[in-house]
Amino acid sequence: MAKAKRPQQAPQAPVSSSTLSETERRELLRYMVMAREFDAAMLRLYRQGKAFGGVYSQLGNEAVSVGTAYALDTKADVLFPMHRNIGSHFVFGQDLDTLMVNHLARKGSQMRGTDGTGHYADPAKRIYGNVSHLGAMIPVAAGFVLASKMRGESCVALTYIGDGGAQVGEVHEALNFAAVQRLPLILVIENNQYAYSTPSSLEFACERLSDRALGYGIDGVTIDGTDVELVLATTRKAVERARRGEGPTLIETVTMRMRGHAEHDDFAYVPKAMLEEWAAKDPVERYAERLIADGVMSTESVKQLREETLAHMIAAIDRAVELPWPDAEEAFRNVFMDEVAQ
């Protein structure tokens, strides 16, 4: 049976000439390079056998994390990232050492060693991490901005889910609730073709995941998730709508997960041709080439940026790995707030 057809939208016009300043464009590339090299550094750690827990590569998702987060006011809005959104953490100003101590659950972690990876919360940086149950934090993000709205504050929540996680019931409940209350919530569905090993054909039957927006009475759009300026422009429109009180937006970003679910996964189930096709659309390489072509950066300055960033990442990781583990006594503290030092 053929898939249900919906009226075709006008195809997205590619942004041919940038409306962004050179500073903004250099910054976008810098954040994407940070995300890319963070991955490289973590992969190196994994291969050395020093990584603890899963290493979830975000390779191929740089433009989505960076482009969406860059559209927000990092001093007033709030980020509820997922596990492939390290770029968003950087845009929100998280410093590398804090990130690594949290990630690797060393002494001094904001989570005291009770949890790791990107699950931390840093209220000062306006970042509230995810839990492993995909979709569970979307109702929470909705509630966070509900509180802001009640107080008359302007605060937009940006959160993410995958093509797999989008099938969790809480996502539906949260989007519907946010739509009814016209909450300033932006949900980015990162459609990277695979949910662990399951292809999207076994995850959903609609043509585009953004088609679901119609069912919630909200705006929805599907875009190329490898084009950072398109991602930014689309998210900025969603932010404007949210600030005007027009409610949530669903943005589906189409990308490819260029590695396994986590590094233990050899992703042999992904056809090689598919990876090759997407490698040609690499978001970081393409944006770097574009900035070079536009004369915003030179080949040499891009090379230098990448090398310096990687060295910076490796140095931070090496510092974090050398830190001691938290004291075992931490395990018995803070189950309840009564025990938390105020």
Binding site: H133, L146, A147, E170
Partner: protein, 323 residues
């Protein structure tokens, strides 16, 4: 002022909302309709639709939104129309709310409340006593009031608490129990048991509806020359172990009663604590009285057959006393 159990809960909510603008309610049919049991009757008129928020039938969204709002400075109270429907929001409570203090050292000052319990012909889906699921979840406080004044005082403490609290109201008590309830602000601390009836022969440790069964049993047994002490533990988390152990050390005999099903119920935990910490004081094995391990059936004959009652508690006390 004389209030029913239901009126006392409503009074606690109303006073908390008047005193603290961060407190708001979210649930199904709580606004115009005033709630399935009319507990929030008049609230919409007093507090407006933003603070008495009617939500879609989406328990995950209701509880999740309450968590998010509590992370952002509010003190939400989420209503489950029947506590049975808390299953639909289970993940939010267990995975998110109950782990937040531990992982983030951040407060989640929210209350999830709703009518629990059987005895009213509610069928398997409107009669559950699921409190112990949340005891086992970690990071959640669990409150089960039995009397109007306690219901008000525990509600106000739950709202003021910085951790997520699940507050189980017994729907069979809503209009059945009346007593004098302090007006205005009134707080009963979480984690403090109350000796409802002092006695010297056998300690009956109970909570919720079972406290009333225990009192009825105690009145019957008094005529038989048995002096029963009834302890209402009031909250399961935190659990006032000291009051229970002290009582058992005095009487040397204990019966533990709750309306929830027997196996895996909180009664087992109470018995274990007594066994570990007051074993040498015991003159008889500790006996549990609880519901049969089944869903709560619909027909009155069946429902009566599975739920515990005063007669069952009295029998258990007699056996314990005669051991």
């Amino acid at each position: 002022m004389i209030m029913t159990y239901l009126e006392a809960i409503a009074d606690g909510l109303r006073v908390a909302m008047r005193n603290d603008e961060r407190v708001f309610m979210i649930g199904e049919d709580i606004g115009t309709y005033g709630g399935a049991f009319k507990l929030t009757k008049g609230f919409l008129e007093e507090f407006g639709p933003q603070r008495i928020m009617d939500a879609p039938i989406s328990e995950s969204a209701i509880i999740g939104a309450a968590i998010g709002a509590s992370l952002n400075g509010m003190r939400p109270v989420a209503e489950m129309q029947f506590i049975d429907f808390i299953t639909n929001g289970f993940n939010q409570l267990v995975t998110v709310a109950g782990t937040t203090a531990y992982r983030w050292s951040l407060p989640v000052p929210m209350v999830v409340r709703g009518p629990s319990g059987g005895g009213v012909g509610g069928n398997p889906f409107h009669s559950r006593n699921p409190e112990n699921w949340f005891v086992h979840a970690t990071g959640l406080k669990v409150v089960c009031p039995a009397f109007p004044a306690d219901a008000k005082g525990l509600m106000m403490s739950a709202i003021r608490d910085n951790d997520p609290v699940i507050y189980f109201e017994h729907k069979g008590l809503y209009r059945k129990i009346k007593e004098d309830v302090p007006e205005g602000e009134y707080y009963v601390p979480l984690g403090k048991a109350r000796i409802v009836r002092p006695g010297k022969h056998v300690s009956v440790i109970a909570y919720g509806s079972a406290v009333h069964m225990a009192l009825e049993a105690a009145a019957t047994l008094e005529a038989e020359g048995l002096d029963v002490e009834v302890i209402d533990i009031r909250s399961l988390v935190p659990f006032d172990e000291a009051t229970v152990l002290d009582s058992v050390r005095r009487t040397g005999r204990a019966v533990v009663a709750h309306e929830a099903v027997l196996t895996g119920g909180f009664g087992g935990e109470i018995v274990a604590r007594i066994s570990e910490k007051a074993f040498t004081f015991l003159d008889a094995p500790v006996v549990r009285v609880a519901a049969f391990d089944s869903p709560t059936p619909f027909a009155p004959t069946l429902e009566r057959a599975v739920l515990p009652n005063a007669g069952g508690i009295a029998d258990a006390v007699r056996r314990t006393a005669a051991f």
